[in-house]
């Protein structure tokens, strides 16, 4: 099931696999050459009259009772959680800009306008003014230069004014050449958005089995749960760092949650690197700048995702969201093999890169991907037109980045067709 269809009714695994890999009868290259020759011959011999207009019109009638589903409905929290998980599962390091863009988009979808205005206020000042390069000729908003003191959100715009949303979104979608420095603000936005969405989701969906939404968790997460009994356990597991994805958590005597967030107390201000572990750096900076620096306030974040700007911007759960990946609750048995949904999410996260390897090719190639029980890709073999071409290495490299949660079987193999973009 492709990422865009993941929230839809699922068929049995075999049927899903067939549906997405259903080939047509293949033909030899010679047969296809003959086919194209015949086609061009038909074109040459066709009368010059233009085809009927009906051939170019929308082909199908509406279905009775036809409705519309938004691509990412606001109410559909699992979509957001899965999207975050898929993003984080990607082994290819995500740029802070991309992380921020997705976070801000999620924030824009989830938050009322006034909340976004608060987010903007809280996220705005520091990076735009502090990290701005000398050759950046873009005008600096007066509120960011200090010429005009920033007004409280309530004075800046009415609560129903969507302008903050537009601005936040537009900033996040600026092309790289013009986006430049505000990476810190953007990463902060992403962190806030992920925290708010996860908190809202878990706070409202207690009926969902943890295995459906959260990967296996680590021991520090258990410690966090123990230390913070009022914290929704699922949030704690979201915040848990994983040994494979982030730097090992150093248990602290202060609190369980602090133990789970080493980067917060480190005060690192290094420029974020693409490594997943470094994604916690930017929120670290925000921690330092915030009045509640050093405090990790998981419960509030879980209970009030639309709370005031402090809760939205300074709390670290979003910063720790990247470490939510592949871990499952300790009491959750390791599955024999990864579910099709998780496999598809993992493959989907690298598919764009894989498809780009086939740019310019006529047809797709079949990749056989074998995951080891640790969830990493053990081997990839390519058959089809890309085999024994430079595209093969490119495909292998792209697909090796897929990750699934650990499972108990020795391996899990699937075949997938990679089509040209």
């Amino acid at each position: 099931m492709s990422p865009q269809d993941r929230s839809f009714p699922r068929l049995p695994d075999d049927a899903e696999a067939l549906l997405y890999e259903w080939p047509a009868p293949d033909r030899s290259a010679l047969a296809w050459e003959g086919f194209s020759s015949d086609t061009l011959a038909r074109i040459d011999s066709a009368p010059p009259s233009a085809p009927a207009q009906t051939l170019f019109e929308a082909p199908l009638p509406a279905e009775p009772g036809e409705g519309s589903l938004e691509p990412e409905p606001v109410e559909d929290a699992p979509n957001l959680a899965e999207a975050a998980r898929a993003v984080l599962a990607a082994s290819d390091p995500m740029s802070p800009k991309e992380l921020a863009r997705q976070g801000l988009m999620a924030a824009a979808r989830r938050r009322p306008a006034a909340e976004a205005a608060k987010l903007e206020t809280a996220a705005g000042p520091h990076p735009e003014t502090a990290v701005r390069p000398a050759n950046d000729a873009r005008p600096v908003p007066p509120s960011r230069t200090g010429a005009v003191p920033p007004r409280p959100p309530s004075e800046r715009r009415g609560p129903a004014d969507p302008a903050p949303l537009r601005e936040a979104t537009a900033r996040s979608e600026m092309p790289p050449a013009t986006q430049g420095p505000p990476i810190g603000a953007a990463v902060l936005g992403a962190a806030v958005a992920l925290a708010a969405s996860a908190a809202l989701y878990f706070a409202t969906r207690h009926d969902v089995a943890p295995s459906a939404v959260v990967f296996p968790t680590s021991e520090p997460a258990q410690a966090a749960r123990t230390a913070q009994p009022s914290t929704p356990s699922v949030v704690a597991s979201v915040a848990a760092p994983t040994p494979t994805d982030t730097a090992p958590a150093t248990p602290s005597s202060n609190s369980g949650t602090a133990a789970a967030t080493p980067a917060i107390s480190s005060g690192t201000t290094s420029v974020p690197t693409p490594a997943l572990a470094s994604r916690t750096d930017a929120p670290t900076k925000s921690k330092k700048a915030s009045p509640s620096a050093g405090k990790v306030v998981l419960p509030e974040a879980a209970e009030a995702p639309t709370d005031d700007s402090n809760a939205a911007t300074t709390e670290a759960p979003a910063a720790k969201a990247p470490s939510a990946l592949p871990k499952a609750p300790a009491d959750e048995p390791t599955p024999n093999r990864p579910s099709v949904g998780l496999v598809q999410a993992a493959v989907g996260s690298v598919m764009m890169g894989a498809r780009s390897c086939l740019a310019g090719q006529d047809s797709g190639s079949v990749a056989t991907v074998t995951f080891g029980s640790d969830g990493r890709v053990r081997s990839v073999s390519i058959s089809g037109p890309a085999a024994a071409t430079p595209a093969e290495g490119c495909l292998k490299s792209a697909l090796m980045g897929a990750r699934v949660p650990p499972f108990s079987d020795p391996s899990y193999t699937l075949s997938l067709t990679v089509r040209p973009p």
Partner: protein
Amino acid sequence: MVDQESDRELIEAARTGDGRAFGRFVRRHQRRVFRLAIHLVTSAAEAEDIAQEAFVRAYGALERFDGRSEPFTWLYRITVNLSLNALRSRKTARSGPLDDPRIEAALVERRPSHSDPSRQLADRELATALAAGIDSLSETLRTTLILVTVDGLSHAEAGEVLGCPEGTVAWRVHEARKKLKEFLANRGHGPLPDKDA
């Protein structure tokens, strides 16, 4: 040799009379168009004819291509319309799964080296049931499902082909999956859906 021109460049060149550019466009897309047609009309011979006809019609209407959509979605729309015309003009229904090229392709192309007879039988039953389930859907749901799942178009691309918003495509895929799931469950593939849900 891998040609690097974009579809738009090829179409633009073809519009200016470069027949070889359209030839490259044909070679680039003929397999996908054929594959789409075969899933829509479930006949290899008809699909071949439709695929060729789609290119002929597209070439005859190059001047109408206004560039608002991608050339391949434009070509897909022509293919879908031709396929639906073929289906509607059929006098009789197809005879059954024995001559369904989709099922043979599913068995031969996906697991060519499978030697376990019981597994082969299970695969055939599943492919037959899935094909029958897809065919039981309405024309609208079936076409949308094929474009999105079997052919791998995004909702946005499918919306361009079908002339409807992304949200409508999503709704149709959702409905199609729901019905398909129920159909398969009634055939013993997967649990029966909860009526209360």
